[in-house]
Symmetry: D2
């Protein structure tokens, strides 16, 4: 159990919308849409993806980190390190 | 003509791959994949989208800005402002 | 106690180096340094600041969130929300 | 001439304010300020730095790229590539 069962449908709904936005980007490129408008749409898709990422991070810290910390401080610390490394990757992307 | 005709196929290919990655994210969520692995994949999709955005930006400055600047300095300046505003949106996303 | 007493000196050392880098940026501007070189240095200072932020985030989750969660699940949840909101601000900056 | 002489004073003023903000961060750490408040201030400094970067980018494209393009298309292209590489570094930072 990955700990995000509660709002899994919400994540799926959002990811399906993002998939539709990416198809919209393909259509924009096929239609020779003005670059700046494509760039604006890319920013919007990126923002939507980051929002999904932040939601997952929230649940990860709320559940996985806490469960691990209850097991042992070392297990909790390992989960924290993993989460912060994931945030670092999000920041660099 | 939006100025990116030359590598339009390359953009489409990349965007189709990104679409596949977003479908992969849906599958990961459906499979209750470990949050951190989903986050890592989100970073990777975001990076791929930003790369498409940087490619478009390159062509925009190379073509649209230059063409506008040949028309008039004011037209060129307007295009530059627009491009920098687009970069600002990318940075904030 | 803010929870980062252990490596406070390390943070201070890093922040003093960042202060020096910002003064270096001023010198670059005064010397009419080539824009792109100034931009590269700005990226480097931003990266150094983000690294300090990630360090603080790590300690925050490790200590404040955990301590709050031991108090009550609600207190823990409030700290998690606060931390994720801080990450969202980092991502948008 | 780096092409940003006109608003050099404005850049210096901003960079001095950023230097003050970085010193403020040091004080916050010395005072054991709550991590999340330090993180919020880090986001704000990062945003201020990015704004300086975007200003420089604007002038770079407006002046250096255009001047180079007038010299030769190849020189213009080289400047564009350099500018887009700088944006990529900003995005990754």
């Amino acid at each position: 159990m990955a700990g995000y069962a509660i709002s899994r449908d919400d994540y799926l709904r959002r990811l399906r919308r993002i998939e539709g936005q990416v198809r919209g980007l393909q259509q924009m490129v096929e239609d020779d849409t003005y670059c700046i408008d494509v760039l604006t749409q890319i920013s919007s898709v990126t923002k939507a993806l980051q929002a999904v990422g932040l939601g997952l991070l929230d649940e990860h810290v709320r559940h996985c980190v806490r469960d691990a910390a209850e097991e042992s401080p070392e297990a909790g610390d390992a989960k924290v390190e993993e989460a912060v490394a994931a945030v670092a990757r999000l920041l660099r992307s």
